[in-house]
């Protein structure tokens, strides 16, 4: 792809402006905003996990505004049906008065889909998202519909109130590029939130980029070079998550049931490229890989009951992996 230097610099500028604009609507959560943007520009779905009221939904809404993308929100509930997500065929009368089936598109037909509290829907409904998330298509009856690009799903889930929820199956989790932990804001951030939300102050959020720009930017970002040792390091990290592989750290052997899939490595490397550009670099570093390992791997490492019993989390496993796997 022939891209001139100005375009590359424009891409970097756009990403940084987008981050700045989102930060106006979402107080704090800088890491989450950055990571969400990385997923957007590398083309991945995001699972946001956090207690209610941390601005998850607000983040996605702001993202939709800044990126000038069509946005739809689906509130997942136990009685939500797959057709409520993808759409359904209904009988309508045509001009001649004949009855015929016509496909009514569901909320999935947007660029940005917010699947709010995804774990409250039944697995059947959750799985309705699978095809859309991976293939960016929707099949209803005997017909497949292509979703408009860029398409991405941002799902949220609540780690508390697990009663009456349906944990996402491994296959579905693997379709999310990142799983982000939305942390409780600090005192300073809370103050800022209060200033924005309980006053009449209106925050103007500018659109920074269109859907078409995003698709172009994704192509540019893929050109960011990654040195072989760095790429090898990312792959060694992913391999090390597998307890049955020789050289895997003891913590994985003891606490991990299944390791990360190759999608984990793809997620790390693709998002590292965005991170490098965001930091004004034209190459991926070891630090990028390490930073992206957490959101990319934490939902792809499936822990066993020993880990739960011992209070071992996926992040602790990743910490150990980063300590144990040598860069060179």
């Amino acid at each position: 792809m022939d891209i001139d230097e100005k375009t590359i610099e424009g891409v970097i500028d756009t990403i940084n402006r987008s981050e700045m604009e989102i930060s106006k609507g979402i107080i704090g959560q800088k890491d989450v905003i950055r990571t969400v943007l990385m997923a957007v520009f590398s083309g991945g779905n995001i699972l946001l996990e956090g207690v209610p009221g941390l601005g998850k939904t607000q983040l996605v809404k702001t993202l939709g505004e800044v990126l000038d993308l069509s946005f739809s929100r689906i509130q997942f509930t136990p009685d939500l049906m797959p057709s409520d997500v993808v759409g359904t065929s209904i009988i309508i009368k045509d001009e001649r008065g004949d009855n015929r089936f016509e496909f009514q598109r569901g909320p999935i037909f947007s660029n940005l889909v917010l699947a709010d509290e995804i774990n409250r829907a039944t697995p059947k409904t959750q799985s309705a998202l699978l095809e859309a998330m991976q293939e960016h298509t929707v099949t209803s009856g005997r017909k497949t519909y292509i979703l408009s690009e860029p398409f991405m799903v941002i799902a949220t889930q609540n780690p508390i109130e697990m009663e009456g929820t349906y944990p996402l199956p491994e296959a579905q989790l693997d379709r999310f590029m990142f799983k982000l932990d939305v942390k409780f804001p600090t005192l300073g951030e809370l103050m800022d939130i209060m200033d924005v939300t309980v006053t009449n102050r209106k925050v103007e959020i500018a659109k920074t980029v269109t859907g078409r720009d995003i698709l172009y930017m994704r192509k540019v970002i893929r050109d960011v070079p990654i040195a072989k040792p760095v790429q090898e390091y990312a792959l060694k990290l992913v391999l090390a998550t597998h307890p049955d592989i020789e050289g895997s750290p003891d913590i994985c052997k003891k606490y991990v049931r299944f390791g990360a899939s190759p999608r984990g490595a793809q997620a790390i490397i693709a998002s590292s490229k965005v991170k490098a550009l965001m930091e004004g670099r034209y190459n991926v570093s070891f630090d990028d890989i390490k930073y992206m390992a957490y959101p990319s791997l934490r939902h792809r490492i499936f822990l066993n009951f020993d880990a739960v019993a011992d209070g071992i989390t996926a992040d602790k496993v990743i910490d150990k992996l980063l300590d144990d796997v040598e860069e060179l």
Partner: protein, 522 residues
């Protein structure tokens, strides 16, 4: 390659030089710590086992390991890719290694990346790469060095033993190298025949073997003494020829006609001697009767005084008879005489060569005795005044002149007093209170008279004929040479063993005599 690529490689090379230097220093230091650790280990072992020169060994180890470390550092000098990674490790976020992989690529992102890397390289500068290794290496070296140095203040109980053993080994090596030097000189000698050389070489080889197998300085000395005796026996073979030659020279030089023959013989020129005797035969034809008679008489005089028996006596007698009977020497007799004279000169020359070897040997043995004494003192602590009266030159140069009166050993209480000549320790065998390293002195019958000038008396067993008497400068009352016991006991033993074979020693005493000599060698 683009200009950016060239600039980039040039920048990398500056870093590479520094990284190589750093690598060399690191390995030199690492290997130094190995050497110091090994040194400490050697010191610890030296507490239990005698190891000589621990610190010297440590020094050698250190030097060797540092050299090896430098060589290893050079061998381990990083390639460009490793250099790139090393540079990245000082905060360049893998810019350099990525740019390295992009050399030759010219798409926009690659060019941007390389520019970025080059800019950062220039900003950082090669001096950011530390020359010295990690502090842990430096600390390790320092701690090991201090520990090793601290051992110098601790008394090592095995140190003295190690030193003594080392001195013994040095002594052995020194003796062996001296023997080898003699061997070399022997090989280069033209005066000796191949058989003679082989005989002496065998003795020297045997001596080297004995020295090698020796387990104490005493044993080395015994081996040296034995060797000296053997070589002196070889020398004796030639001494008679030398004496005969001298007699012939003396007689020939008295007459004008034979003076040239004497000169040739004195010049040790065998061929010239042979030629001159042939010329004499020619001159004889023109001589008057009295001259011929005188020459004939000289021939007979020489013949009657000869000690060696290799045909010269017969040749001289025949030549004298020819002159008496025919006035000239017959051709075949002349040839025999010329050959015999030539042979005499050669053997006399060989005598000189062997004498040089024995002198060398004696010097070596004498030096060893001096050293031996010193070693003995080192090994047994400070001896009292009973030892060490003789100098390092040993006793070989101590032969007294004059004529001895007594052939018996130990008859004179004064001369039997221990003199401490060479540090040998067999003196305790006699049960007296002699100190270690002392020997009794005894008279050596062979050396009675010492090295005084010798008189050659011509004459015939019949009692008739001329008798020449030459006065000796030395007093007859001189009691001869008193030499250490260990120098003569070998000969006594040899004779005693011969006597054991005969009936001179009663059967009941044979074992006692044998036991006595065996005990002396222990």
């Amino acid at each position: 390659m683009s200009s950016i690529d060239n600039q980039f490689i040039a920048s990398i090379k500056a870093f590479k030089r520094r990284i190589c230097a750093s690598s060399i220093i690191k390995y030199a230091m690492l290997f130094s710590s190995y050497a110091l650790a090994a040194g400490l280990l050697i010191y610890i072992v030296s507490i239990f086992l005698p190891i000589y020169g621990v610190y010297m060994k440590c020094g050698y180890l250190l030097v060797i390991f540092i050299v090896f470390g430098i060589a290893f550092g050079i061998y381990k000098s990083p390639g460009l890719k490793e250099v790139a990674l090393k540079i990245d490790s000082i905060g360049l976020k893998e810019r350099v290694v990525t740019a390295m992989e992009l050399i030759g690529d010219e798409f926009s992102m690659a060019m941007l990346q390389k520019k970025d890397a080059l800019e950062h390289l220039k900003n950082v500068g090669s001096k950011k790469i530390p020359l010295l290794p990690d502090k842990k290496y430096i600390m390790l070296c320092f701690i090991l060095f201090v520990s090793l140095a601290a051992t110098g203040f601790i008394k090592n109980p095995m140190g003295d033993i190690a030193k003594m053993r080392h001195n013994f080994q040095v002594e052995k090596d020194g003796q062996i190298s001296s023997v080898e030097k003699i061997e070399k000189e022997l090989k280069n000698s033209n005066a000796l025949t191949t058989e003679d050389k082989r005989e002496i070489e065998e003795k020297l080889a045997e001596l080297k073997k004995e020295i090698n197998e020796s387990e104490s300085i005493e044993e080395v000395k015994k081996a040296l003494n034995r060797g000296q005796k053997k070589i002196e026996l070889s020398k004796k073979k030639y001494d008679a020829s030398k004496e005969d030659l001298q007699k012939a020279i003396d007689i020939f030089s008295k007459t004008n006609e034979t003076e040239k023959v004497a000169d040739a013989m004195e010049g040790s020129d065998a061929k010239a001697s042979s030629k001159e005797i042939k010329k004499l035969s020619e001159t004889l034809k023109n001589m008057d009767g009295s001259s011929k008679k005188r020459i004939s008489k000289d021939f007979k005089d020489i013949s009657s005084n000869l000690k060696s028996t290799d045909g010269l006596e017969e040749s001289l007698n025949k030549a004298a008879d020819d002159i008496d009977a025919e006035g000239s020497i017959r051709e075949d007799d002349l040839d025999n005489l010329a050959n015999s004279l030539e042979s005499l000169v050669r053997r006399s020359n060989a005598s000189d060569a062997v004498k040089k070897i024995t002198d060398d040997y004696e010097n070596m043995n004498g030096g060893e005795k001096g050293n031996g004494e010193q070693n003995q003192q080192e090994s047994v602590g400070a001896p009292d005044g009973g030892s060490g009266k003789e100098g390092a030159s040993g006793e070989s140069g101590q032969n007294s002149k004059g004529q001895g009166a007594s052939g018996s050993s130990g008859s004179d209480g004064e001369d039997m007093t221990p003199q401490g000549t060479d540090g040998n320790s067999i003196s305790h065998k006699d049960g007296s209170e002699k100190k270690v390293g002392e020997y009794e002195k005894v008279y050596a019958p062979e050396n009675l008279g010492g090295n005084g000038e010798q008189s050659y008396i011509s004459g015939k067993p019949s009692g008739s004929g001329n008798v020449d008497v030459e006065k000796s400068d030395y007093d007859n009352a001189d009691r001869g040479e008193s030499i250490p016991y260990n120098k003569v006991y070998g000969e006594y033993k040899e004779e005693a063993m011969e006597d054991i074979g005969s009936s001179r020693i009663p059967n009941g005493m044979k074992e006692i005599v044998k036991g006595y000599f065996s005990s002396l060698e222990e």
